[in-house]
Amino acid sequence: MFRPKTRYVALPSPRAGVGEEVDRLTCPKCDTSLEPARLNAALGVCYRCGYHFRLRAPERIAMLVEPGSFKEEDEAITAKDVLGFKDSQPYTKRIEQSRASTGANEAVTWGEATLAGHPIVIVCLDFAFMGGSMGAATGEKITNGIERAEQSRRPLLIISASGGARMQEGMLSLMQMAKTAAALGRLGAAGIPYISLLTDPTMGGVTASFASLADVILAEPGAMIGFAGARVIQQATYETLPEGFQTAEFLWQHGMIDLVVPRPELPAVIRQLLDLYTRDGFHSDFELKGQARAAAQAAAPTRP
C-alpha cells in the first residue's frame, strides 16, 4: 500500500506549496486513505481516528495567530558547519538538502504576532528541517525570541517538534540547552508568561531544556515526548516499556504536563491562558476569529 515516507500535511498558508504535495495520504494509525483537502480542513487531524499529523512551522503559525499578524525575525540565520562534521554525508550537504526541501534556513521560525487580540512572541520548531534538531543557529533564534518576549513584555509561545540536540554540531549544540534555559530564567524573573506546546515528537535536549521550562505546558494528543528514545532505553536496559510510554497522555498522568489539547481546540485554550496571564485580559471582548475552529467545524468528522 502506498504510504508517504513523511507524515506532514500541507495546510493553506502563506507558503502554500512548500509542504509535501501528495494526492492521497494514508493515516499511519488507522490506515485510512485520506483526502488531502478534507485532511487540511481538519487541520491535519485524521478525520477517522483523530491521529495528529505533523505540521510544518508556517502552517502551525498560520493555524494559531491572526491572519497577517506574524512578522518573522532572523529569517536569514542558518546553520554553520563549525566542526567539519561528516557522517554518511557532510553536514554542509545535509543543511543544503534541508534548506532546499523545506524552504527554510533553520529548524525554527520565530517572530511577533497577535493571537486573539494578544500581542505575543511565537517560536515554532519544524521537524522537517533535520528532525527539528537544535544546533547553534536554532538555539540562537530561540534565545532571540525569548529575549524579545522579555524586552517587549509579550507572552511567549514556543511550539516544539524536535529530535533533540543536533549531533553534527557537537558540544555547541548541547550548550544551546544551557543558553535557552538561562534566557528563560530571566523571562520568568521578569514575570512574563511562557506557554509551551509539545507536538510530535519532542525529545532529548529540547525536552530537557526550554520545552519543559514553561509556566503552562500543553501537548497534542498522542505526541511522543521524552528524553531518551524508547529504542535507546530498551537497548540500554532490556526493560519492557509500558503501553503508551512517552505519549502526551502518559506524561499527563505522570504530572509532567498540564493538559492534552486536541489541535482544533488550541487557539481557544491558548487564548484563555493569555486572558488569564496578562493584566488586561479580562477586558478584552475580542471575538476569537477562530480560523482553526471554523476550519475544523467545516470538516466535521464523519465515520465511514
Binding site: 514575570g191 499527563w252 498522568q253 504530572g255 509532567m256 504536563i257 498540564d258 484563555q272 488569564l276 479580562f282
Partner: protein, 270 residues
C-alpha cells in the same frame, strides 16, 4: 443528658454538618465565584493528584491563583480524588502554583476541605511530611496576598499544607482541627467511640477558632447549612473573599509578608 453531654452533641452536629455529603465542595464554589478557571495539572515530579486542584481564575477584574482540596461527589469521583486526601504530589503541585502566583503577582485563594493528608505507605515513601513542610515556608514567604477559606473539614497538617495565609476565613459550619476527632480519640484514649467527646474537647468549630483568635471571620451559611443553598453560600464566600483581598492588596509586599510573619509569630506567644 448532662449539660456537657448536650454541648458535645451540638459540637458533633457541627462535625457532621462539615462533612455533609451534599455540602458544596471546592469546585462548586470555584464555578460559582470565578469565570475562566483554568485547571493546571501535575507536580512535574511524579504525578497529578486530583485531591488538590488549582490554577488561575478570573475574580473581580483580576487573576487569582486558586488552590483547593476537592472531595468527590460520586463514588467514582471520590475514588479518583482519594476522598480529598492528598498525596505528596498534591502539595508539590500546590507549591508550583504558589511559585507561579508570586511570579505573576496573582493573589492566592486557598479552599481547605480535607480530613487530612493521605495516610498511606506510598505517601510516606515520597515524603508527604517534607512536601507539607516546604509549603508552610513557601506560603509564609510568598509576596502576594493569601486568603484561606475553610469550606468543610480542615484536617490537621494536610489542611495547613495549603492553609497558611494572611487571613483565615471559615464557613459557618466548617471545622478545623489538629486531628480529626476519631484520630484524636484513638491517639488519646485508643477508643474511636469517644470521638464525640474528643470533638468537643478539641475546640474545632468555626466559632471556637474565632474565639481563639485564629479565624478572622465566619462566613454565614444559609439556614441549616450550605448544602441547602449553594448560591447563597457562594455569594457570602465571594463577598468575604473580595473584601479581604481588597484590604490586603493595599499593602506593599514587604509589609504584607511581615504582617503574616507576626500573625503566626504571635500565636501562643506569652
Amino acid at each position: 443528658m448532662t449539660e456537657n453531654g448536650s454541648l458535645a452533641a451540638a459540637t458533633w452536629e457541627q462535625v457532621e454538618l462539615a462533612r455533609h455529603p451534599d455540602r458544596p465542595y471546592a469546585l462548586d464554589y470555584i464555578h460559582a465565584l470565578f469565570s475562566n478557571f483554568f485547571e493546571l495539572h501535575g507536580d512535574r515530579l511524579y504525578g497529578d493528584d486530583h485531591a488538590i486542584i488549582g490554577g488561575p481564575a478570573a475574580f473581580d477584574q483580576r487573576t487569582v491563583m486558586v488552590i483547593a482540596q476537592q472531595k468527590g461527589r460520586t463514588t467514582a469521583e471520590r475514588a479518583m480524588r482519594n476522598f480529598g486526601m492528598a498525596n505528596p504530589e498534591g502539595y508539590r503541585k500546590a507549591l508550583r502554583l504558589i511559585r507561579q502566583a508570586e511570579r505573576f503577582q496573582f493573589p492566592i485563594i486557598a479552599f481547605v476541605d480535607t480530613s487530612g493528608a493521605f495516610p498511606g505507605a506510598g505517601a510516606e515513601e515520597r515524603g508527604i511530611a517534607w512536601a507539607i513542610a516546604e509549603n508552610l515556608v513557601a506560603l509564609a514567604r510568598a509576596r502576594v496576598p493569601i486568603v484561606t477559606l475553610v469550606l468543610g473539614e480542615g484536617g490537621s497538617g494536610g489542611a495547613l499544607g495549603i492553609g497558611v495565609g494572611d487571613r483565615l476565613l471559615m464557613m459557618e459550619h466548617s471545622i478545623y482541627s489538629v486531628a480529626m476527632p476519631e484520630a484524636c480519640a484513638s491517639i488519646l484514649w485508643r477508643d474511636i467511640a469517644r470521638k464525640v467527646e474528643a470533638a468537643d474537647a478539641l475546640k474545632l468549630t468555626a466559632a471556637d477558632l474565632k474565639r481563639l483568635g485564629l479565624a478572622d471571620e465566619i462566613v454565614p451559611e444559609p439556614a441549616g447549612g450550605a448544602q441547602n443553598d449553594y448560591g447563597v453560600a457562594a455569594d457570602a464566600a465571594g463577598a468575604a473573599l473580595k473584601r479581604h483581598l481588597g484590604e490586603l492588596e493595599t499593602l506593599d509586599a514587604d509589609r504584607l509578608v511581615e504582617q503574616r510573619y507576626q500573625r503566626y509569630r504571635s500565636i501562643g506567644a506569652s
